[in-house]
């Protein structure tokens, strides 16, 4: 068996506030608690060979996170998910573990769901306006970059987006660019704050649903 292994896991509920770095530490400890020895790097300051694809923003949920890891000894991958889940904090659930034969760099599209909360405004009306707004040719927002403020058009990173009215909210489903360039879903709400504050939601939250490659095949 190849020693490159991959986990698919979800991060929901209270666990969405665990930062990327803290999640790495949490995962490392969970492996140890579950009785799996992770393989470490060689060198002066050995660290476990784990990496989580596409770091998730604090506050965002996901049911399709991927983590690559290596073990010191062979393990039964069918029982690993349940054992590891038992050793993880509330809100993190391992869905499957398998040998990884594709590189995470091949992930291109992310399916996401979102919820724009409107406390006072009419969801049906908002839905209309949101559809209109996101059918624009280009949506240029300013954002902080390493070199100061920069402009970027987020529209090409949105492959598809649809809205439906809900109770005091509008829900959305979208396919957005996962990397090169990366679109942080939060920028969907941010674009409204910058360009159309009248329909900017009072609060927005997102969940990652699924990962795809450039040809829209499921990525595993």
């Amino acid at each position: 068996m190849s020693d490159k292994l991959r986990l698919r896991f979800s991060k929901t509920g209270r666990a969405v506030y665990i930062s990327h770095l803290d999640l790495m530490q949490t995962m490392q400890r969970a492996f140890s608690r579950a009785g799996y020895a992770l393989k470490y790097s060689e060198g002066f300051n050995p660290h476990p060979l784990i990496s989580i694809a596409l770091p998730l923003s604090v506050g965002a949920a996901s049911i399709c996170e991927l983590m690559d890891f290596r073990l010191r000894e062979e393990a039964d991958l069918t029982e690993l998910p349940a054992r590891l889940t038992d050793a993880l904090p509330e809100g993190i659930e391992v869905l499957e573990a398998y040998e990884a034969d594709r590189k995470c760099a091949e992930i291109k599209w992310l399916q996401i769901e979102g919820r724009f909360e409107y406390d006072e405004r009419d969801p049906a009306q908002m839905t209309e306006k949101l559809r209109e707004f996101f059918s624009r040719e280009s949506i240029v927002i300013t954002k902080k970059t390493k070199r100061g403020m920069g402009e970027s058009d987020i529209r090409p990173s949105i492959r598809s987006i649809e809205f439906s009215p809900a109770e005091k909210a509008v829900t959305l489903k979208a396919l957005i660019s996962a990397q090169e360039p990366t679109l942080n879903p939060e920028q969907l709400a941010e674009s409204l704050r910058q360009l159309y504050p009248e329909i900017a939601p009072d609060f927005a939250k997102f969940t990652r649903i699924e990962t795809y490659d450039k040809d829209m095949n499921l990525f595993r």
């Binding site: 209270r14 400890r29 608690r33 604090v58």
Partner: protein, 611 residues
């Protein structure tokens, strides 16, 4: 999760500390428990989650099936502002429920600068601050921790204090509270009954009268409360519950590792040290117990580090065997073992080599006084020779960083003693030049000084603190005496120490100033981000509290001290004798060479002290 909270969390720093949900947290069915306890730590999550005492008591309280004890910490400033704006009250991490609905708020108060945060947490729970303004039985507001050895500055706010170790005491109080709740007792009825439990101090059952000069005339108990409250201890630490399934934070905290407690108490009797007196008698755990609990905890947490806790690690007799036992498990798994609180006098090459196998950290020595005469006066039994010997071994072993800790303003300290600190640093530097294995890496010697704060129940409880001006004069004297460029000098600011000194030996009248500081925005005062000396000084002025009366005044030994109703086991006569020996620069042998009959052994029924 509360929708208001959900909207705030993405905006605050490190939100994971406000959510709960960590591995090993204890969740119970709230419909099935009789008492809900909010275990409140008046500081941040990162500090509180590093506290072994809190971890132990969380588990002992939760071992009662009719109790659900949950954790509550003080939010950092950004979260605090957001909670206020959104009208979110203080809540417990496990359930997310507001603490105002709980049956008891139990505070762990480890240091004076947490006092304003205690008030803030009461207020954020929607409770009146003062016990007299909370007429109902529930919630009961209780507090324990080191601050309980002088509870007086917080006396008007807290319904009852738990003095000493809480493993048994907390549960006895909860047992009674359960009955009180079932039978609908009045608060007064509960307080008079709970005051009969050994170790419980109910401030409202004691009248304090004062002389015209502000000193205490008398402490008068009423409604059958005991004249003196004797501290509680656990006799058999091996049999006492230890949490081998502690909560593992999902975000970084200060001490993020397995902590093993070697023993309680200290054989040394340094005269400035409150802990050395109030935690007596000496009770050690067996190395087998520690190894077993250590391995179990490592398995249950996945931590990569273990640390050994005690007041003086080198005084743990079976230390080499314990280290062997732990290293046998840790080494093959790359788990680090660290030993803080080693003494300079019996630090051995063997031990150092053992630790080096895994990880090498800097060396820290608490030397405390700058001359042998002064160290004898404070009974800090470390000689220059010991220190230099240890440094030599360390430098030969490849260490290249040494930290030396001192206090300025100790009783009998002279300018020569202050200059002696700089000389000692030079000696250490010389030692490095003579013995260092690899001089290319250079050496770093750091001197730190803090201002001595006289503490209740120590032989120096009657001593004046030096003034801020005098402390700074000594700091400057030391600065100008340090010439070597490899020696760095850090000093604690004097003003925090003055405030601490007032609170540490304060009486009930200081409470008004604490409340006023809080009303003017004081909270998290242990953090320089929030501490304001001006706010404290102004509050002292506005409430008529003279800080010099509490901090700078020498008390006659026959004066009634505000904390005289608390008996930590050690006799006052011994403290007086130790103080007299200080003036003669006379050492007292440590407890193992000669028992001083301090009195703490009276707390033991089944075993002997340091057995």
């Amino acid at each position: 999760m509360d929708q208001r909270l959900e909207r705030i969390l993405p905006r605050v720093q490190k939100p994971a500390r406000y959510t709960g949900g960590e591995y090993n947290q204890i969740i119970k069915d709230k419909a099935k428990v009789e008492l809900r306890v909010a275990f409140c730590f008046p500081d941040t999550y990162e500090i509180g989650m590093s506290n072994l005492g809190m971890s132990i008591l969380y588990h002992t309280m939760n071992s009662l099936d009719y109790v659900w004890c949950e954790r509550v910490f003080a939010p950092w400033g950004d979260m605090y502002e957001e909670m206020k704006k959104a009208g979110i009250p203080l809540y417990a991490l496990e359930s997310g429920d507001s603490t105002s609905k709980f049956d008891a708020l139990a505070f762990s108060i480890g240091y004076e600068m947490a006092y304003t945060t205690v008030l803030d947490m009461l207020d954020m729970s929607g409770l009146p601050l003062r016990t007299e303004d909370r007429p109902d039985l529930l919630p009961v507001v209780m507090a324990g921790g080191t601050a309980a050895v002088n509870a007086e500055p917080m006396a008007p706010f807290i319904d009852l204090f738990l003095v000493g170790e809480g493993e048994e005491l907390d549960n006895e109080v909860l047992d009674l509270l359960r009955i009180a709740k079932r039978e609908n007792w009045t608060k007064h009825e509960f307080l008079t009954r709970v005051a009969q439990i050994g170790g419980v101090y109910v401030p409202s059952l004691y009248d304090i009268s004062y002389h015209e000069d502000g000193t205490v005339t008398a402490i008068t108990p009423k409604d059958g409360a005991p004249a003196r409250v004797t501290k509680r201890i656990i006799e058999n630490l091996d049999a006492s519950p230890f949490p081998t399934k502690p909560i593992v934070p999902s975000t970084e905290v200060v001490h993020d590792r397995v902590s093993l407690e070697l023993f309680r108490g200290c054989v040394r009797g340094c005269r400035f040290c409150q802990a050395g007196y109030v935690y007596r008698p000496i009770r050690a755990k067996k190395p087998e117990t520690l190894v077993q609990q250590g391995i179990e905890t490592l398995k249950n947490t996945g931590y990569q580090d273990v640390t050994l806790l005690s007041l003086s690690t080198s005084d743990y007799r079976p230390l080499p065997g314990l280290c062997d036992g732990l290293l046998e498990y840790c080494e093959p798994r790359s788990i680090g073992l660290s030993l803080p609180s080693l003494r300079a006098d019996n630090f051995s090459m063997e031990l150092m080599e053992k630790l080096q196998k895994v990880r090498k950290s800097g060396l820290t020595f608490a030397v405390e006084g700058g001359s042998q005469r002064l160290r004898d006066a404070i009974n800090k039994n470390v000689t220059e020779e010991d220190l230099l010997n240890t440094c030599r071994i360390a430098f030969e072993g490849g260490w290249n960083s040494v930290k030396l800790y001192y206090m300025l303003g100790l009783p009998t300290e002279t300018d020569d003693d202050v200059r002696g600190i700089a000389e000692m640093a030079n000696q250490v530097l010389h030692c490095w030049r003579m013995y260092a294995k690899n001089k290319n890496r250079g050496v770093k010697i750091t001197i730190s000084t803090s201002c001595f704060i006289p503490k209740p129940h120590s032989p120096f409880q009657w001593e004046p603190q030096v003034s801020v001006e005098e402390y700074l004069r000594r700091v400057n004297l030391l600065r100008s005496s340090i010439t070597a460029k490899n020696v760095t000098y850090n000093w604690h600011d004097a003003e925090t120490s003055l405030i601490e000194a007032v609170l540490s030996r304060g009486d009930r009248r200081v409470a008004d100033a604490i409340e006023l500081v809080w009303r003017r925005g004081g909270r998290l005062d242990a953090w320089s981000d929030y501490f304001s000396v001006e706010r404290w000084m102004q509050a002292f002025t506005d409430t008529g509290v003279d800080p010099d009366f509490y901090a700078l005044r020498e008390r006659p030994v026959d004066e009634v001290l505000p904390w005289d109703m608390i008996d930590v086991g050690v006799r006052k006569a011994l403290l007086i004798k130790e103080r007299e020996k200080c003036y003669r620069s006379e050492l007292s042998p440590d407890c193992r060479h000669q028992c001083a009959a301090c009195g703490a052994a009276k707390l033991l029924k089944e075993i002997r002290c340091d057995e």
